[in-house]
Amino acid sequence: MLVFPGFTFISLLTLVCDWVERKMEARMQNRMGPTYTGKAGILQPFADFTKLLAKEDIVPRDSKKIFFKFAPIIAFSIFTFAIFFMPIDGANVLTNSSFEGDLVFVLSLVLIANFFLFLSGWASTNPYSVIGATRVLTQFLGYDIPLFILALAPAFLANSLSFSAIASAQNIPFAILIPWAFILFIATLQAELEKDPFDIPHAETEIVGGYETEYSGRRLAFLKLAKDTQIVLGAAIAVELYLGGPYGPVLFGLPELSYALWFIVKVLFVVLITEYLTCVFARLRIDQVVVGNWKVLLPLSIVSLMLTIAVVVFSQLMGQGMM
C-alpha cells in the first residue's frame, strides 16, 4: 500500500510528469530540454530535487517562523493526501476510502492547500512575496468557483458525488459527451495550476519569485514538489471526471496493472494539453485575469452546467419515453 499505488508511486509520477513537461516545452520551443542527466534527461527533476536538498536553508529573521517553516510541507502533504482518493488501479489507494461526496472533499482539500501556499508567501516578509501571495489568493479564490461548477457537471451525468462512481460510470468519456464543459475545465485548470496565461503568482520578471522568493534549500525543494504534486492532482481530477478514470481496454496482464497504465497515460495526456497551452500564450495581468474570471469564465461555466443538466433531463425523459 505504501509503494503502489502509494506515496512512492505518486512521487515518481510527479517527477516523470515534470520531465515530460520540460521536454515537451523544450521541443515546442525548438530546443532540446534536459539532455545530459541520464538518458534523454529523465533524471533531471530528481537531480534538481536532490541539489536543492543539499543547499543552505535560510530563514529570514523577520518572518513568522512557524508558518514559514511548515506551510510548504503542509501544502505538499495535503496535495498528496488528496491524490490518495483518486481511483488508480480500479479501486482506491486507501482501501474503502472512497465515500459519497469525496469529490467535494477533494476540492476543498485543494482549496486549503492553496491557502497554505498563500501563507508561505505571506509569512516571508518580503514585498515580492507578499505581492505574489496576494496574487495567489486573488487568482485562486476567483477560479475556484468555476472549477467547482464544472466539476459538478460530470457528477450530474453520473448521478453521484464520488470519484470512483464517476470514473466507473463513464462508458464513453464525458469529454466527448459534454465537450463544452471539458474545454472550460481545462481553461480553469490552467488558472488553478498557475500556468501561462495565468502565470502571475510566480511571474519571474515582475516579482522575482512571488511567494517562493525567500525560500532556499530543502524548504524550496518541498515547495516545488508541492507545486508539481498540484499539477498531478489537477490532471488526475481532470482524468477522473472527464476522461474515464483509469478504465480502458485491458490489453495484457492483470487488470490492475492495465488500469494503472491507462491512468498514467491519461494523466500525461492532460499534462501535455496544459503544457501546450502554456507555450502558446503570454502572461496576463492580474486585473485582466480577474476580469476574465468574473465576466467570462463564471457565466460560461454556469451556462455549461445548465446545459449539462438539460442533457441529463432530456436523456432521462428519452429513456422513459422509450420504455
Binding site: Q29, P127, I131, T205, C279, V280, A282, D287
Partner: protein, 528 residues
C-alpha cells in the same frame, strides 16, 4: 553652413547682440556659438522655438584649465547647434535650463557630478552617475584628478543604497533592481505603489559606471576604438563608427566609397541583431517564453553573417580610423544573401503575431503610453520617439556612411504605447535587410582603407550616428598629440531613461517590465 543655419544665426545675433562672444564652425559644418554667462538660457529658448521637434541632444563639460566650458548641443531642424558657456573653475555655477526643457535633467546632473558645476534651480540635484558615498570634492573628469591617486582616496566606503526616504501613508515602497530577473543590467528604480498602481518612480543609474570617458584620455586613438566599442556590447559597431567618424572629421580624412558601404552593412547588421534581441527580451518580460526562443533562434543567421564578415559573433571590431579593417570576400556574398533570406522568410510570421495574437495585444496595447508632447519635452530619441510619432532619424537628417545613397523608409507609428515601439523595431528589421541587400548589390570597388596619422591635429568635432536605440552623439577635442583631450559620449538610453518616470507613474506594477523593455534600455551605455 546651410541656409537654415544662416537664418538661425542671424536671429540669434539679433536676439543676443553683443552677448555672443565667438562663432566657430567645425569641418562638418556644425555651429559652435560661445555666449556670455547667463545668456545661454535666452539663446537656447530662441533655438527651441525655431523648430517644433527641437530638443537638447547632449550637454558636455570640458576642462580647459581655469575655466570649465559647458556646451549645450541643441537639435534644430535635424542639425546640431552648440551654445557654449565658460564658467570659472573656482566658482562653477550657472542657471539650469530644466524649466524650459525638462529633458535636460539627466544631462545637467551628469555634468554636475563629473565636473562640479552647480546648476542653480535644478529640480532634483542629486548624484546621477557617481555612487552616493563618493567624496564631495573630487570631480573625476577634471584634469587635476589623476585616476592613479583615486584608489587610495576611496578606500573606506559605506553601503550604497540610501534608505532615508520612506514611503508616505499607505504606499508600499518596492525596489525594482539593481538585481532583478527582469533587468539584464543593474539599475535601481524605487517605486512607491498603492495596491497595484505605481505612484512615484525614482530612477537611480550609475551602477555600471566604469569611467570610460576618463580612460579614453589615457589611450591612443587607435586603442580607443576598441575601448569605446566596449561601452556597449550590443551596439558596438555604432560606437566604433561614431568615434572613427568624429576623428576623421578632425583630421580631415575622406574615406573611400567601398569603406562607406561596408560600414553601412555592418551597422545595419548590428541594428537587426539588436532589435531581434530586444524583441525576444520583450517576450520574456511579458511571459511569452516561446516567442523569445523563436526570435533568438532566428537571430542566429545574423550572428553567423557577422562572424563571417568580422571574425566574431558580437563584437565586430570591424571599423577603424580611415575605413574598415578587412575586406569582404566575393565568395562570401552569396552565402550572406542566403542567410539573410532565411531571416526574411520568417518576418511575416512575426508581423502576423504582433498584429493578431490576443495575449500580446493585451499586454502591450495602451500600455506605457508616451504622448508626442511628452516625447518632445523629454528629448527622447530613436524608436521611442518614432513610436510616438516624432520623425527623427539621424540616417535621414544627416546621412553618414552610405545612407545618403541607399533608399530606405523611416518607420514611425503614432500610438505611443509599448506596442508601437516594438512594432517600429520589427519594421526596422525588414528595412535593414533591404538596405544590406542594396549595399551588397551596389558595392563599389576600390580600396577599403586609407592610412590615418597617429597624431591628430588640434581641433574639435561633433558627430552622430543612429544606433539601434537612438541617436548616439560624440564630441571629441584633440590637442595635437596621440592622446585625445576629451571624448564625450552621449548614449541614446541616457536620453530615453528619463521618460520612464512619465511612462510608469500611474500604471500597474505588472506593466512596469513591459514598458521598461519597450524603451530598450541599455544600461552599460547609459553609465559608461
Amino acid at each position: 553652413m546651410s541656409e537654415k543655419e544662416q537664418e538661425i544665426l542671424q536671429k540669434l545675433r539679433e536676439e543676443l547682440g553683443d552677448r555672443i562672444i565667438q562663432v566657430q564652425t567645425t569641418r562638418n559644418e556644425k555651429l559652435l556659438i560661445q555666449v556670455k554667462i547667463g545668456a545661454h538660457k535666452d539663446a537656447i529658448r530662441k533655438l527651441l522655438n525655431e523648430d517644433r521637434n527641437a530638443g537638447v541632444s547632449a550637454i558636455t563639460g570640458v576642462d580647459l584649465g581655469d575655466v570649465i566650458s559647458i556646451m549645450y548641443h541643441i537639435r534644430v531642424h535635424g542639425d546640431v547647434i552648440t551654445i557654449k558657456v565658460e564658467v570659472p573653475k573656482e566658482n562653477a555655477k550657472t542657471t539650469t535650463i530644466c524649466d524650459i526643457i525638462p529633458g535636460a535633467d539627466f544631462h545637467e546632473r551628469e555634468v554636475s557630478d563629473l565636473f562640479g558645476v552647480t546648476f542653480e534651480g535644478h529640480p532634483n540635484p542629486k548624484r546621477l552617475i557617481l555612487p552616493d558615498d563618493w567624496p564631495q570634492n573630487i570631480f573625476p573628469l577634471r584634469k587635476d584628478v589623476e585616476t592613479a591617486n583615486l584608489v587610495s582616496t576611496l578606500d573606506s566606503r559605506k553601503s550604497l543604497y540610501n534608505e532615508k526616504n520612506v514611503a508616505k501613508g499607505e504606499n508600499v515602497k518596492i525596489v525594482f533592481g539593481p538585481q532583478h530577473p527582469a533587468l539584464i543590467e543593474p539599475e535601481m528604480f524605487s517605486l512607491e505603489v498603492n495596491g497595484e498602481i505605481v505612484k512615484r518612480v525614482e530612477p537611480r543609474i550609475g551602477y555600471v559606471h566604469r569611467g570610460i570617458e576618463k580612460a579614453t584620455e589615457q589611450r591612443t586613438y587607435l586603442q580607443n576604438i576598441y575601448l569605446v566599442e566596449r561601452i556597449c556590447g550590443i551596439c558596438n559597431a555604432c560606437h566604433a563608427a561614431c568615434f572613427c567618424q568624429t576623428v576623421e572629421e578632425i583630421i580631415g580624412l575622406n574615406i573611400p566609397a567601398r569603406a562607406k558601404y561596408l560600414r553601412t552593412i555592418i551597422l545595419e547588421l548590428n541594428r537587426i541583431h539588436s532589435h531581434m534581441l530586444l524583441l525576444g527580451h520583450a517576450g520574456t518580460e511579458i511571459g511569452y517564453e516561446t516567442f523569445f526562443h523563436y526570435m533568438w533562434r532566428d537571430r542566429e543567421p545574423i550572428m553567423d553573417v557577422v562572424e563571417m564578415l568580422t571574425g566574431n559573433r558580437v563584437l565586430a571590431s570591424f571599423i577603424t580610423i580611415g575605413g574598415v579593417r578587412r575586406d569582404i570576400d566575393e565568395k562570401m556574398i552569396p552565402k550572406i544573401k542566403e542567410k539573410l533570406a532565411i531571416l526574411k522568410n520568417k518576418l511575416p510570421f512575426y508581423k502576423n503575431l504582433f498584429e493578431n495574437d490576443p495575449t500580446i495585444k493585451m499586454r502591450t496595447r495602451n500600455v506605457g503610453i508616451l504622448s508626442r508632447k511628452d516625447a518632445l519635452k523629454l528629448c527622447v530619441v530613436g524608436p521611442v520617439a518614432r513610436g510616438s510619432g516624432v520623425k527623427m532619424d539621424v540616417r535621414k537628417d544627416e546621412p553618414y556612411a552610405a545612407y545618403g545613397e541607399i533608399p530606405f523608409n523611416m518607420v514611425t507609428y503614432d500610438d505611443g504605447d509599448s506596442w508601437a515601439r516594438l512594432m517600429v523595431r520589427l519594421d526596422e528589421i525588414s528595412e535593414g535587410l533591404d538596405i544590406i541587400e542594396y549595399a551588397l548589390e551596389n558595392l563599389p570597388s576600390g580600396p577599403y582603407r586609407v592610412r590615418a596619422p597617429r597624431v591628430v591635429p588640434a581641433g574639435e568635432a561633433i558627430d552622430r550616428v543612429e544606433a539601434p536605440r537612438g541617436e548616439l552623439f560624440y564630441y571629441i577635442k584633440s590637442n595635437n598629440t596621440a592622446y585625445p583631450e576629451r571624448v564625450k559620449v552621449r548614449t541614446p538610453t541616457l536620453a530615453n531613461i528619463r521618460s520612464f518616470v512619465n511612462i510608469a507613474e500611474g500604471s500597474n506594477i505588472a506593466d512596469i517590465p513591459a514598458s521598461l523593455v519597450s524603451l530598450d534600455p541599455c544600461f552599460s551605455c547609459t553609465d559608461r
